[in-house]
Subunit: 611 residues, 2 copies
Amino acid sequence: MPEESSFPTLKRLLVGKPIPSHLAHHERLSRVTGLAVLSSDALSSVAYATDFIVATLIVAGTAALGYAIPIGLVIAALLAVVAFSYRQTIYAYPTGGGAYRVAKENIGENAGLTAAASLLVDYTLTVSVSISAGVLAITSAFPSLDVYRVQLCLVFLTLLTLGNLRGIRESGQIFAIPTYFFVVSIFVLIAIGLYHYATGTLTSVAAPVPDSAGTRQLTTLLLLTAFANGCTAMTGVEAVSDGVPAFRPPESKNAAATLVTMAVLAIAMFLGITFLAHAYQVMPTEKESGVSQLGRVMFGTGPVYYLVQAATTLILVLAANTAYADFPRLASIVSRDRFLPRQFMNQGDRLAFSNGILVLSAFAALLMVVFKGDTHALLPLYMIGVFVSFTLSQTGMVIHWRKKRTPGWKTSALVNGFGAVVTGVVLVIVAITKTLEGAWIVLLLIPIIIALCKATRRHYDHVASQLTLRNYTPQRRVHNTVLMPVGGLQRAVVEALRYAETLSDDVRAVYVDVDQSATDQMKKDWETWGGKAKLVILESPFRSVMEPLLEYIEQVENERTDDYVTVILPEFVPARWWQHLLHNQRALLIKGALLFRPNTVVTSVPFHLAK
Amino acid sequence: MPEESSFPTLKRLLVGKPIPSHLAHHERLSRVTGLAVLSSDALSSVAYATDFIVATLIVAGTAALGYAIPIGLVIAALLAVVAFSYRQTIYAYPTGGGAYRVAKENIGENAGLTAAASLLVDYTLTVSVSISAGVLAITSAFPSLDVYRVQLCLVFLTLLTLGNLRGIRESGQIFAIPTYFFVVSIFVLIAIGLYHYATGTLTSVAAPVPDSAGTRQLTTLLLLTAFANGCTAMTGVEAVSDGVPAFRPPESKNAAATLVTMAVLAIAMFLGITFLAHAYQVMPTEKESGVSQLGRVMFGTGPVYYLVQAATTLILVLAANTAYADFPRLASIVSRDRFLPRQFMNQGDRLAFSNGILVLSAFAALLMVVFKGDTHALLPLYMIGVFVSFTLSQTGMVIHWRKKRTPGWKTSALVNGFGAVVTGVVLVIVAITKTLEGAWIVLLLIPIIIALCKATRRHYDHVASQLTLRNYTPQRRVHNTVLMPVGGLQRAVVEALRYAETLSDDVRAVYVDVDQSATDQMKKDWETWGGKAKLVILESPFRSVMEPLLEYIEQVENERTDDYVTVILPEFVPARWWQHLLHNQRALLIKGALLFRPNTVVTSVPFHLAK
């Protein structure tokens, strides 16, 4: 048996080495690594946002695809507005301005909880959608793998879970390579595409038009739906403003520069791909993405094409990974306000984050299995949460400026106010076009989560009021009556008895008489091994052991009012886990029976079995 | 919160009132109730045994069905032989002569364990097969219910489980009505059938001949398979000899008379149904049983037919119920020999039986789900266990007579020897014809169960050798160092501290310094609430709480050799179950970390939350 506790080893294995306080500074992000770590969500969404616009428009026929360009331009403009809005949050909240905090401080508790619930749902969907889209990049390249779609999703999820439990989060460098490779390869793709377009040498994708094409009229609702779907390009913009304190000083300045770089890159890539998708008549399906179709045309189905697909998969998996930093951090902040179980609260080591990671993975896995790893099926659920938190955060900022009235506050308020209106309008459009397609799940889930948060807070408040030391006088209990139920005498019992004798002068072994000859033997053995303890023999007309025991404990408790009753139970600690099944059931029952009894303490004295 | 423990109430609800010792006598069985309680398994098997013969023969064409009559006669003769053999066991083992005991005492431990493993498997299959056949009687009457076959099986299983947990076993009367009603209705059916046959007024069942008919040759193997399948009629014969002590005195005489009555009834019903099945050209399928087809012809599809089907279902469910008495009893006997976990051992109240009931139900449910509640699919697994135990039991009886040499022992040995040979031959036939069809599962399972039993026994023997008081000198430990990790001061901590002070003069509260201002506050509060205890403050360079704590505990243990270390943890006992999720994670971790440490006792001092 281990001389040392087995716990630190297990924890070390699962969650990695602890970080000493004075090292925390060294891990801060530069602009280059910051862009890699915090932008993968925003940048990677260009891999699917255009597809969603095209796939929506096609039901009104190929002619409707022309609307993709103006819709793309509107979305790009919105992205610029939102990025500019968040740039202000970075300067106003240099210690991190997540939507929860901004909404709670400026609007109120309910707004904060709404933002938190939306974000928790959103992070879970980010994991599911990003991994699904990453797997789509693989199955686009290797169509025969499509039947293993859900399995592949779960493999990536498992890798992310284990990596994050061990602490992959710290290494900014490993993010840089796939992120920058993705950005470069997309720009190369766009450049080649534009060159062919300009020189008139383009060959269209020539993908088969789906059966659904032209089955519906081109209505305003359809255009709004295409717009709403394209707004996935805006997800992830908030990540930099949440992570300001992770930057090297000057934190705000570095973060703001990173945010602007990210926005410019995202807008350029999104517009480029959207333009090419139209020019090359891309026709994305749930089995092949638009970027993959473009890649095949530009590079041919050769090594460069496969590299681009690999980079797409990698950045999407990294995008999922950002949720693994965001979800536990938000859960920790919310649980510090006692709205979530304290198991999520970071208390010095990484254990709390492990709980957040496991909860996130469990829900993301559920979504992947239920929606069969299909990004198009998950999409309607995705954006409600994002835009609820956008709108609340921007609205909160407007109130923030009105309260602070720092120089230039009116301009700032105007910028954030515009952002709030814009994201609010998108939210309404998303809600209108998506509710029946599945967004109702999220619209139902958010209030449920809020209610659970409030119930949790209420419970902790009740507990705090029961724990306060104000006006508290402890009961005068000075004596301890130690009882030890015994079924016979053996080494574990005798050792527990010796332990019991160190606790009190009043130790009583309690034996239930179910068989006269066994009782006589017990009395005889007691003379040798009993020591200072007293032997109490109880009658049992019903052959039951438990009931006389419980009655006796009650009787002892009534004997005097100034004592505790301590019940000592020897407990076997087996050498192998399965041996647990062979022991201790009765001890467990006694513990269960005494759990709600006041002033009664049950103590298990371990007896370690060698094999 | 309950003033009294909630345990007895819960137990009462689940397992019923305890039976006082002096009442046990009143519940003994008369011949009439004994037949009802112990014979339902044997009698009910006539509801399906004939079907299995016919369904096997039909693959060789309708002409082959003529062999059903001679096969039926052979089985009837065997049933008489086996019953006569077991009649001797009743007199030789008036305190109950189960196959486990007879084989173990007379042949040896391995034979006993083989019999026990076979019977445990067999009882599980009895539950599955009987309930499935009972549901078949329902779906025969109402074919539209066939799609809910598995669900219906699980409903009956749940009812039996709950009924047995509450103690349905005691009421012999409720068994009598359906058993005797079944017997009477089968005899009425046979009488009407014979009357029509004799008067030449019979109309055949005219069920459609299945597609498989005539697809195979009539081989010896096929005849043996039909015979083996028909031998299901013999299952349950041993039940009376197992239950001798449950009879009113003179126990053996009453039991023997009951056994003979049962055998006569079973043989008459089996032969009658087999004869009619042939005469009326019954063609059982997995959707309609032969008895149901006969019933429709004899009574028309009217109220009498439905009553017969209801009686069939009821007696089959009762047959399953006998396994609920047998399985826990056998498990209890085997665990008394320490071959099964002691949780199965009856120790005065019914709790041990509850464990047996739950295990039996779990495995039976698994079988029903895996084999989709189809009796024909479960059949190949069924009989191996029955005939292994028959053969071992009869062989054991031969050895028993040879040892005892009581007057007339040679005749007795001859009878049992003949029984052993007959059941051994059937066992071989069953093994040959059934192994590939699924009996391999059972042939694999029996040695696995035996191995588990031996591992269990070995473990308990090791434990016993570690627990013996022979040559044992307890360590001299007279002192108790009481440690209490505290994260701050509140009521639960102060109460636990007061408790700790009753245990020892050396009580130390251990506080981990992760934040200077919190530590200062702690020191200040300590002056008010600390009492006799000493405050120890630990540094934590890694912001971790657990590691400095565990290191300090180790350090304290090295301070002196004559003491125990008791770690006191306040533990919240919430008023509602879900609130458990919100508390005590850290306490659990500390407990886990200290579990394997010698001479260290962890004590939780409960703090009861009001809401």
